[in-house]
């Protein structure tokens, strides 16, 4: 029963939504939106679940004084403080009922704007360094394929800067096809696009196939059973 009911719900809802795609007549026309709203409702309830889990897990670490427990203190304090200033709309210039919690000037806004955003931007900024280190490893000319990759990457990287334009700008019009901007365009629009499309076709077929397996009930591994 524990497996049958979820499988039944998945099968029925999945089939109805697939069929509804071909039926514009009410009530089928709005089913996709309706189910999307149902999911949002469930997901919003799950926030409570997530928040509860966060408190329980980090509370347990703090109480047991597990390794790195001070980090958990920061996490719990950050969570509770944000929740508090958000729920009470503390510092909201228009009062509790005056305006949204995200109004400029409120403590919640300040926490988001001056603590969270810089922290997130810092994490994002790490990407620049990681791109450099990953490229350094990926572009080593270990064999023929890697050498081609290195060459193509070099052309594209150079071509994306003003240097690419300058390096081959002296070429006559009859040799336009050898200019770096032209090569970059062809690499990106023809080679890259063709490869990308092939991957996209595979992904689309994979999505259809996986969806069918889940709807028909062939694939039950998401329920923990093979």
């Amino acid at each position: 029963m524990k497996r049958t009911i979820p499988l039944l719900i998945t099968g029925v809802v999945g089939t109805v939504l697939v069929v509804a795609y071909f039926i514009p007549h009410p009530p089928f026309d709005s089913l996709r939106e309706d189910f999307s709203i149902f999911f949002d409702i469930i997901a919003s309830v799950a926030f409570i679940l997530g928040g509860g889990n966060l408190i329980r897990m980090h509370g347990s670490r703090i109480s047991r004084k597990e390794s790195n427990w001070p980090y958990s203190v920061v996490t719990v304090l950050g969570f509770l403080l944000t929740l508090f200033v958000g729920l009470t709309k503390l510092g909201n210039p228009n009062g509790f009922l005056g305006s949204s919690v995200t109004t400029s000037g409120s403590y919640f806004y300040a926490a988001y704007e001056y603590i969270f955003r810089p922290a997130a931007a810092t994490m994002f900024a790490l990407l620049a360094f990681y791109v450099a280190s990953a490229s350094f490893r990926a572009f080593r000319a270990k064999n023929a394929e890697a050498t081609i990759l290195l060459l193509v990457a070099f052309i594209v990287l150079i071509g994306r800067t003003f240097v690419g334009e300058l390096l081959t700008s002296w070429l006559p019009d009859s040799l336009h096809f050898l200019t770096i901007p032209y090569l970059v365009e062809k690499i990106m629009v023809v080679l890259n696009f063709a490869g990308n499309r092939a991957i996209m076709i595979g992904i689309a077929l994979g999505i259809v196939s996986t969806s069918l397996k889940v709807i028909i009930g062939i694939d039950r591994s998401y329920l923990g059973s093979g």
């Binding site: 697939v18 795609y21 071909f22 039926i23 514009p24 007549h25 009410p26 026309d29 999307s36 999911f39 469930i42 997901a43 799950a46 926030f47 679940l49 997530g50 889990n53 966060l54 897990m57 347990s60 790195n68 980090y71 969270f116 922290a119 997130a120 994490m123 994002f124 790490l126 990407l127 990681y130 791109v131 280190s133 990953a134 490229s135 490893r137 990926a138 990308n196 991957i199 996209m200 076709i201 595979g202 992904i203 077929l205 994979g206 999505i207 259809v208 196939s209 996986t210 969806s211 069918l212 397996k213 889940v214 062939i218 694939d219 591994s221 998401y222 329920l223 923990g224 059973s225 093979g226």
Partner: protein
Amino acid sequence: MSLVRPAPRGRPDHQTRPPRNPLLLPLALILGGMLMGFLPGSVTSASGQVETEAGGQVETETGGQVETEAGRRAEGAAGDAVPQTAPPPPEIEARDTPSDRGENITVTWTPPPEDTGVGGPVFGYRIERGLSPEGPFEHIGQASPGATRYDDTNVADGLPYYYRVITLTASAEGTSGIGGPAIAAPQWINTNQWNVFIVLALLLGFNLYFIEHIKAGGKPFIRKIAGLEAINEAVGRATEMGRPILFVPGIQDMNDIQTVAGVTILSYIARTVAEYDSRLVVPTSRALVMTTARETVKEAFLAAGRPESYDESSIYYITDEQFGYVAGVNGYMVREKPATCFYMGAFFAESLILAETGNSIGAIQVAGTAMPAQLPFFVAACDYTLIGEELFAASAYLSGEPKQLGSIKGQDVGKFIGMLSVAVGVLVLSIAMITGWDPLVRVAEWIRIFWSTELA
């Protein structure tokens, strides 16, 4: 600027609908601006969708307030006496828009020969609607020169509507005959999606056929997927090193099919981990994913005969925020140094941050995603990468069940048909270009349309 149009007669205001796609508004404004550059006067935009013979579709809003001579006349024509000497559209037809949810009537007309497009003597068309052929008629919209169609999306189902189209020139107008009655009604079948239906039916058919074929004893050839073959090795390595195994199911929720595919792989990994008596850690960025992953891992440990080894606290929620989640996972990686990292699901900018951190701690890494933009990062930073469709095939591949393997073969046939279509399309179009034989061009065009969403 309001996007809501006034309700038609006999229909309450609350039933009015905004235009189909608000994103078309900027396009309309740009096109309107361009039109102003071409026309001697200015144009008052009216609501409605207008399709030109060139195929362009323009949606303008009420009160667009870009005025031209034609526009002013379109607005004020009801009261002013304008000479009826302009050539009217010779034919007009109004009919219920097919394959829709109702409340929509399509008006089409044949433009007079004098309509030579933008810049010509015809400034545009005024579309009027009435509830009887005798009138009165009200102005409901305007179309550009060269237009042949107007979608009236502001009608009630079940009422008969009559239309007329008026040609507008610099000094005169020409009124067409009456089109209608047209009665809007919702349809039960969307015939615009027949190509999608055929592809879906074929894929379903192939899947079911191969499932039955393999169940009956057929031996399918499934190529080795290195990333999936390495799972046992990766889990074994972590066990030998006495370090945990990290599984990251992406940052999307359970309504994303990639997350579902990731969780199915988690099921197999969890069973292997249970058999090796190793430790699995699953930080999630969505509470629903956490709940599903807990259930999946618990069942997997149970199936492996080690329910006592299941640790619920090792599958936990961090945050919905992308970089907050990355910070949490990276912190764990740097502190605990897992020996093996799996990344299976939907990833965005965090893919490289996670994979490079994993690389820096010397973990063996297996990634799988269907996000094409993130694939190069995973390929560069991970030991094995499941590219696109391999992520979706993983569940079947790992289970080895005939039913599931059949779906991989069905998927392969779909891919073969796609490849064949591309090859035939390229060949047919190339020959058509060389020979100039028109039927071949039409065949190539038909193939292109079949694989596009253009029908819709």
